[in-house]
Symmetry: D2
Subunit: 433 residues, 4 copies
């Protein structure tokens, strides 16, 4: 029977094709479809649900706000909900880390926050070029798309994307972490390189969509130093890797760098509600009032859940510690899998991990079979060759163990052709990567 999704929803729909069911409710690390079947979620809204689905602590505050008719929509008017969030950001996030940032509320999406950051960097430097990195993903609006690597998404712009040049990400040119920074330094110091000095460099410390590529602290520091020495703004896009995904609140903390601009979205709202922030060193806060705006930049219900998430999860080190501990477990499990088959390798940090397959067709098969078994994992990387694990940070050890066991079974079936493999899949496979 043809569903309304097929008849009415645009062809652009995507995840619903990989996961062909109709979801209804969710809680913590679990989604339930309308038939009552449950799925363990190692995808977490592509990183927007670090605190799990419908987190009860946040839910309670949200219901309270809505029930008392707390402001819902406020553009950038001052509200009590915004004030409480600003105070929590200051006292829980910024001050303890010695960070002196101004806070901009752009439109409620990562792409919009990236657009704001790029615009501001260009405005304050008077330069037009931005340097991004190979395999980066920063969004699909025209400004953000120009710094995004994916060729198919770029082509969908319908116009040539301009004013951005990708640099080699850590590890892209081989094992030498100095290779990329050397190329950047060389062209900056050469007035005839043909690469115009950029307004800013925009970087993800771990490239989630790009295939779980992890930048080393050494590389990030070299980048930060280069930017600082040459008067180039360093923008860290922490949309997916911030809010504790790699352990600390900001993913760049372990590298010991302080970006000029930080872009947050996805889990910053806490509950999966649309919200984004741009953090700016005060000297760059040269916006004129209203110069960047957006109707939904004052999504107050999200301000409430954002604040409660900070208060509940970030006043101590507990979440960071548990994330790192759970991450170790993921890494061990993936390393074991990788050791079992040729052409398979593991990588990651905190609770973002990837299992990469040299045979680029394998990851998609793993994702599909995992779905059949009740586990949601997405793929990433230029050829969708990496199974990417993004469980909620609030996943329990038991849930995590269960999911990793499921994943191992699925990989075993596909790579080793064990009896459990469905006929058609088995028939097509003789090796793995």
């Amino acid at each position: 029977m043809t569903t309304v999704f097929e008849t009415l929803e645009s062809n652009v729909r995507s995840y619903c094709r990989a996961w062909p069911t109709v979801f209804d409710t969710a809680r913590g690390a679990w989604l339930r479809d309308e038939s009552g079947r449950e799925y363990l979620d190692f995808f977490a809204g592509a990183g927007a649900l670090n605190y799990g689905h419908n987190n009860p602590v946040l839910k309670s505050a949200l219901l309270e706000h809505l029930s008392r008719d707390g402001i819902t929509h406020a553009l950038d008017m001052s509200t009590t909900a915004k004030r409480d969030l600003l105070v929590a950001l200051r006292d829980i996030v910024l001050v303890p880390r010695g960070l002196d940032y101004k806070v901009q509320f752009p439109g409620p999406t990562g792409a919009n926050a990236v657009e704001a950051a790029l615009k501001l960097a260009r405005k304050v430097t008077g330069r037009t070029a931005i340097w991004n990195f190979t395999n980066s993903f920063h969004g699909v609006s025209l400004g953000a798309l120009a710094v995004t690597g994916n060729a198919a998404k770029r082509a969908a712009a319908g116009v040539p994307l301009a004013h951005a040049v990708p640099m080699p990400y850590d590890g892209y040119l081989g094992d030498d972490p100095a290779a990329g920074p050397a190329w950047m330094r060389r062209v900056l110091d050469d007035s005839a390189s043909g690469l115009d000095k950029p307004a800013a460099v925009i970087v993800e410390t771990v490239q989630g969509e790009g295939g779980v590529n992890v930048a080393s602290g050494q590389w990030l520091r070299a980048l930060a130093e280069l930017c600082s020495a040459r008067g180039i703004l360093l923008i860290v896009d922490d949309v997916q890797m911030g809010c504790g995904r790699t352990g600390p609140f900001f993913s760049f903390e372990t590298a010991g760098i302080t970006p000029d601009i930080v872009v947050l979205s996805k889990s910053i709202g806490g509950y999966g509600l649309p919200m984004a922030l741009v953090l700016l060193r005060p000297e760059w806060d040269q916006w004129a009032p209203g110069e960047h705006n957006g109707t939904f930049r004052g999504n107050n219900p999200a301000f409430v859940t954002a604040r409660v998430a900070l208060e509940h999860y970030w006043t101590g080190d507990g979440l960071t510690a548990s994330t790192l501990a759970l991450g170790e477990r993921v890494r061990d499990a993936l390393d074991e899998l990788a050791a079992r088959y040729p052409g398979v390798s593991a990588r990651g940090r905190g609770l973002v991990h990837g299992l990469a397959f040299a045979d680029v067709s394998v990851a998609g098969k793993v994702s599909r079979l995992a779905f059949e078994r009740g586990l949601l994992v997405e793929t990433s990387g230029p050829d969708d060759e990496v199974v990417k694990l993004l469980p909620p940070l609030t996943v329990t050890p038991d849930e995590l163990g269960y999911g990793l066991t499921l994943l191992a079974e699925v990989v075993d079936e596909i790579c080793a052709g064990s009896p459990a493999v469905t006929g058609t899949v088995r028939a097509r496979f003789t090796g793995c990567g």
Copy 2:
């Protein structure tokens, strides 16, 4: 005392400067600040709150969805909440109007929906140029900003905006509604005009941010015919004027035209929650899966309130009729004001109206004094010379009457210098426009 807004929030904040208080709760047409003072809202979230603040019918459904742990964040997975919304869109909005559109869920903002529409138009036509209109506003991400008129916002791009050319909006070149279409037709039919044939024309039927400029049905039909005859896609940006703002659900219905693409946001979510839609004629739905994406394109709580808004307000003609009736009342009041002072004129349609002042400094004064008196009205137009009225469509006749009376008093005070005017304002004014 310096507030956290001043110390921590970016200079880009804007409305909080015009309306210097801290809002706390809201209901219907009223906002309440933390001191308990109430403000009648003729601004309605810049058109995002057509059904009023925290509309009880929608609130009830929203609380129910949240309480039962209905999915909150789902990217573009299929969910029961999305299915119910699609069915309601089809049965309540599209089928009764004979409209055959596919529905795209872009990111949850108008700008993102505009970006999606422009990308698609370029992709399906293979052309790069877009024609927009003088005084248009479509958003501030790089693609949307290129079709936005405001010079200060454009300059904030930090790069030259390309691939878009503004055409004269209805009335821009004087009273002849044929002047603009004649220019467009002339350059299209001239292979040496230097204006490349565009992929699409993007138009607002009433330019809200541009100063409440109302396009006539005749002009819109001429535009639609020109686009159709030349194979140019017609995109109507109904972000602010759709969802009943001008009376009918879509603002273009009265003109009898059928756009190729319709962009909706602001009030489509019903409750002021971030949400946007792109409606596409099926032949243009040439997206590849995932070609345009975004983390918050599956904001399911907004799907719930969007659906209930359609079910509650759009199964009959009641809201349209009351909007038109209330609109007449607004128009009468503004016409009376306009007749009272030289250099003042009124314009509008449905429940979007503008009071324009030849002396461009007046509108801002009106807005500020209205705030002091407990009425929220914003300004618009190239020089902020127009007081723009956007009350919730659910405003009661009494509330509307009260607000119009307040407005008239304020205008009288500022323009006529009546005793009620505060000293400083009075001192500065000797005439009005």
Copy 3:
């Protein structure tokens, strides 16, 4: 027999297709092909041969320079030939007209001079946009092409052309010469028009390639005043219309305007040798040394013929007077032709004239048949619908009369189907325009 032109020369070759013979020598208004056949030239190198082919006065100076081993190639080193030219420019052209210009020697083509002018205008204003006009032609390098109207030539760029917007040329929007300037003024004075304030306006006083469209003095003055009032540079591209083509040395003299920048090429070298100049008001001469360069910017043989042309033709009013007188004769002849057939009209100024046909296929037929009869005339206009007459300014009255008689015969044959028409042409024609 297949010639080396067909086997070896690129498909891009063009005039050789319309005029299928092999030319060998030339003198004055006459070209001779290798079979000895002579052609009267009403094309004059597209305006590069205002003083006729191999003008004996210039030839003598050129041979003298070459014979004595005068410098040929000098980049922008100082040479005696360049000094003599600068002095002649100053004393014969600039000072008598009260013009205070600096002289730049860009690369030796009109396109290069246009590129230099646009770059400088952007540099000194800090703005990126340029306004050009419908049906304009300024060259085919990427910067010049962006301000050129022809759609096919624009498409050949292979990239979207940016940073330029065409405005309506005089007469483009009908008879009212104020219509275009009104549109320009309106968008300039409207900070939300969406048309960024341009660095410069570039205009031809008569659009040769565009179809011999003649701007009125009133319109040019309105344009100049608008530019001056708004701080926009006015660039007159006098590549084809300068050097006496319209009567006075500069085509803009009769309008009484003084452009900020004047671009000269084609006939400025006198003998048909590649050369170009950019004249700049001193305040705009903000070039850093070498900021714009080019290998052939010091074509000294052309400096010699350029100087002698000034000395010989421009120390008195003789050439201007004879050009205007001959032009009258052309105009009378064309008016007579236009009066004879419906859909035919004449236009022009000085010695540039056009005969426009409503049936756009006629002009090409006229050009081809004229060639068969020994007269070279090219077509122009968006649809090649205009026969364009550009005889050398040094054409004798007898030659001019002969050519006009030939042209009239050809038009008669094609439009009226007189017995002289060749069978195939006749068979296809029943009316004219």
Copy 4:
């Protein structure tokens, strides 16, 4: 006394500042100023005078052509002079080398030829990006400037330059010739690299303006193979290095590669007259007639001297052999100089050589002192740190020896501080590089 150059010529003038005299005549390797002083020319019109100034063989043919009123200006009409040139190109240049190229006559400058090549590459591939190289120079019109490295010249565009990305030239990333091609291959094979697949790569085999950087045959072959394998057009800009400058007629012959498109200018006209050619593999000759044009694309006097140069110098191997032999002598002399001082190094090929100084201020001093001694040498490189030697290929061994001796004396004086150094120079110098 202020000269007309200072009062009237634009500030953009450049070489006349370095060489402050007024040149009058020239012959072979010698220029003579108006005072009768002679200068040995190791600059040769920046490579436009490979056959020397006013070469008597070419001069004779040129005078003959002009005297008999051979066509001077012909756009792209067929002429006997063009036919003779095409035949010579075919029989002397193309056929003996097994090259199957179509010949396009663009405007008469290298920049224009580059513009044509880039446009065509974009047209035939449907792609917009071009890859150029660090330190490249291809001209200053907007399309050519986008692939030129020099930051100051790029900034003079006044608009951001788009659609081009520089790749590392051979040696740019250190000694490994595989480093650059590895980066190119990596990003091409990665669909998420963010570097759009280019229409073409444009390369100089020796970067003259860039500092006499010599690409190895191995590197050029790797580049050609990469282009071929990925369907990217390879454009060799042989404007300065073609016509025998490196020994063989084309500079790429020794590497054994066959570009898709070759751009020629400078010495192709033989006599220093403006002329340029684009050579195209037949399958890329997809121009529509007239799609790229230009008034001076039919500079027939240059066709005559171009043909005679081919006939006289290229029917045997003599010029190649003597160029290589003379080049050896230059190299020996420079190596000896380089060995004498720290921070000095020599590089080059054929008769293009560079002497690079680690102390970037030295090269300019060498050039200035050489001028005082009667030797013209220019500087190149990003910091003008390289003395560049480009003597005419027809320089005699004695002249070459004299010039090299002069140069050595100058370098000695500046680097070693010998008594001959002028006071002011000496005072400032204590070491060399």
